[in-house]
Amino acid sequence: MKILIADDEPLARGRLKRLLSDIDENFIIFAEASNGLDALNQCISEKPDLVLLDIRMPKMDGLQAAAEIRKANLDTAIVFITAYDKYALAAFDTHAIDYLLKPVKKQRLELMLEKVTKLTPSQGQIAATDSLDTPPRQHLCAHSHLGVEIINVPDILCFKADNKYVSAITATSSILLEESLKTLEVEFADQFLRTHRNSLVNVNAVKLLNKNATGQLQITLNGLNEPINVSRRHQANVNKRLKK
């Protein structure tokens, strides 16, 4: 069995690796991932049978990493490991095939491994962690045949909807997301503002709010040449939020 361990603490990774090797010396263990993003990338490149994810990690937390691993259509079984995190426990309670508490006991690991080997690949996946209790994501990922593209949420200047797809646009790139503008609006309400039926803009990137020659209210963003239109319906709200 190929097993990936993701934890930001080297000692915690080391202990799990030792316990797993004690159980079966033939396990192939990757124990270098120190954050959720590393874990995601290594899951894609190494395609492990099982990933052990710590919940509270830098860059990308374990819950988001799990959701992205699932989106990448991998047959990797996901198990969470946490010291103590009551909010996270509530969020993944119904989705995880298992979760372990630190310090993990060897017997508990064996039970978990039994569970994992009994599962068919499709059962090993978890449902999307779209619970309201989870904080907004710090990264967005686009999964394509080329792999995973990742961008930092603070770097996103705006979201634009076009028919079925929503693009997240930064100063240098853009990725296509399979999420609706509405769910993005709810998740990132603190950072992004609805300006139009088809767009959300990053409040921190706003350079200028003015009317063009035809009287259309528009927003100019730092790093983006083309201004974004503000529809009449959203005018009042945009004015209010940007005045603050």
């Binding site: 930001d8 509270r56 830098p58 209790d133 904080p135 603190d190």
Partner: protein
Amino acid sequence: MRYLYIQHQWKKQTTAQADAKLDALQARIRPHFLFNSLNTIASLTREDPVLAESLTEDLAELFRANINSSQRLISFEQERELTQQYLNIEQSRLGPRLRIQWDVKAIPIDARIPPLTLQPLVENSVYHGIELSPEGGELEIHGSMRKQLITLVIRNPMGTESSSITREGNNVAIENIRLRLQSCFPDQAKLLISSSDGFFQTQIIFPYQTS
């Protein structure tokens, strides 16, 4: 009016004292910290038994201080020692990601301070400022004294954490320290919080008293 005000203040202070005591017993040690520490010690029992032993002692001292915190004031030296024991554990857990700058030489070691004033503030800094950064960061603890007033500054890089849930817990700890400072040094102590240029800073100011 004045009477009502005084009565209100008095009531607020007595409940604060009672609450502070209760909190000190119940909510001081973050479960997150406890279980991670135990996990670190479990890892070290094989890799570095000597370090595992000394961290177990540090953890015991921290717990003892939490249980015995009925003392109103302790010496600054004791509080510094306690904070150091806490940091020993975090240092083993976080490794090079946690970089500590201590500079409290200016504070007389016999200065009095409410127990568990500095340590929880440092714990907040580690939890919010260092732990969630992949490269970690520098935690600064700086002390100075001027005109019999002691100032302690705890500074850390601001975390990227966006969750409001965790921030709430933070406020409870800070409010608790503020109330205890207030009850030990009425109108002479302050706890100030500020953030700028990507740094988060907590400042406590209290008078130099030796008894």
